[in-house]
Symmetry: C2
Subunit: 343 residues, 2 copies
Amino acid sequence: MVGRCPTTSGTDGVKRQSAFNPESFSDALSAAEAKGQQFEQVYFVACGASLADLYPSRYFLDRESRQLRTAGYSSNEFVHAEPAALNHGSLVVVCSHSGGTAETVQAAKLARESGAFVVTLTHNQQSDLAPHSDYSILYDWGEQSRVDDNPMAVALAISAETLKRIEGYVGYTDFRNAMEQVNNLVQAARERVRGRSEEFAAASADESLYYVLSSGASYGHARSFAGSGLMEMQWLDASAIHTGEFFHGPFEITSRAKNFFLLKNEGCTRPLDQRAEDFLRQYAGQLEVIDARQLGISALAAGVVDYFNPILFYSVLCEYRDALARVRRHPIDTRRYMGKVDY
Amino acid sequence: MVGRCPTTSGTDGVKRQSAFNPESFSDALSAAEAKGQQFEQVYFVACGASLADLYPSRYFLDRESRQLRTAGYSSNEFVHAEPAALNHGSLVVVCSHSGGTAETVQAAKLARESGAFVVTLTHNQQSDLAPHSDYSILYDWGEQSRVDDNPMAVALAISAETLKRIEGYVGYTDFRNAMEQVNNLVQAARERVRGRSEEFAAASADESLYYVLSSGASYGHARSFAGSGLMEMQWLDASAIHTGEFFHGPFEITSRAKNFFLLKNEGCTRPLDQRAEDFLRQYAGQLEVIDARQLGISALAAGVVDYFNPILFYSVLCEYRDALARVRRHPIDTRRYMGKVDY
């Protein structure tokens, strides 16, 4: 199993098609419906960073859908404790970067055997997911790839397409427009934080623990930046907190000795993040606010911007993670257990 | 706002009725249905420890229901980003120990105005939730109360009753029997860990950071023990990790210098917890395994035991938290921000 580090180029100079083709996917759903599949639930199943990539999709359907049930699972929990509703009325979106994560392959197999329509996302053309897939998407990856061809955006596009098809989605045009805009916007944001992230890293070389706060569609990436960006790739202690929950227990840990990242969303849950920021500015030690609004995301339509925040945060936080890696002389692909010991 | 610490007695020597009456609740659902409410979704809304109390219920419906949509929200997220499906087909379970948590009261108000059937749980007879409630439950609390009269079990009982009524629940008899058994079982478990928790605390007086691992229905309480038991009540750094996710990033943090609590479930997700235990025994520093099986929970029927694990973990971990409080001379109700500063 290989950790996912976007350090290799995903482009080869040839103009490529988008990783996701809405028409082709919609046709595949039509064909499934013609065979009697009537979709009532959408499950998102993956592990680690791939599960975080699916979080905005689950959040999107949970908020926008009037009919569809939705849930997200770490693959091994899905395998060992499958939901009773898993059946031919289920659309199961499964993601594994390497295409070989054992629990995820098993989850796809289980879902398909239950009669579900299985959509797989992977970066590996020879993925072990292939035999368990009704519709497979090979997404792009690497510094040179477009973010709308990366798994977080692709899964979100799948979700919007599914919603539109099953029950209609009034925000669909805004959503597709935002998907067209997001790559340029994110690349510009990434440029903008580069200097800041270097300064942050220089001032943080000796820190050992970070709290990562966010809300809404971005809470999944707060968890992933903690668990993958910091714990896995930097062996730094980390803990993610939802800004809505912060004031109901966790904030008592705040002091000048503690360090916080705040992923401040544009959109509906911004007041939750703002409240955390106001408190932390007064009582915390180091506070790094990554403000999606300041980084230009408000160019996207207000009705859909919520779902695009984590796409921006993912890329921007790569700058912070990589800057920390350089200052700490701890390359992001250094592992002590994964691929090295049995577990 | 007052943090919830079960240090005061909830009994007065008088034999009291159970906090939850299945027949009365079922009658209330019938009356709502007679007025045209057809329940399609069940939402759980609260903050902090109360939200953790609702987690097993959301997990239960997510796994057992074939028809009902379910989701859980931190109150302020529900208020600022309400789900599109919130309407007269929604049953919304809202919990606030003090009955006055502002965001939670607002969430109950919003839900009721949307036409939902609102069930409120509180320990305060003069709760601000009352005007926004279709069915209100005053639960018991304190060292002397029965765990099946505490909010986690009461919410779970609400969920089982709802499931039975809406679509039938084959495990219902086992579930009710388990609810009868769980109090004695938990009290015995609590006695059993008392000595061990004292030893643990004595050996841990100088530690400052804990990882708390679990899976299944208990993952919510892993988060709550981290966020409330350790961060809020002991000002200790803490981070919760799902055992299914542990091997997909976070485990790289493991070393002899790190401390872990593992809440090891009985039931379907036990293999996930076991895998984490096997790894941690080899590579971690301090590892405290709270094994629900060793603590007697297997007396409950196999088909329902998964959902009762967190009820046991809650009580047992109070012993650990209280032992830490004594050794560290940090009473569990010490606050530096809540009720002391504006935020």
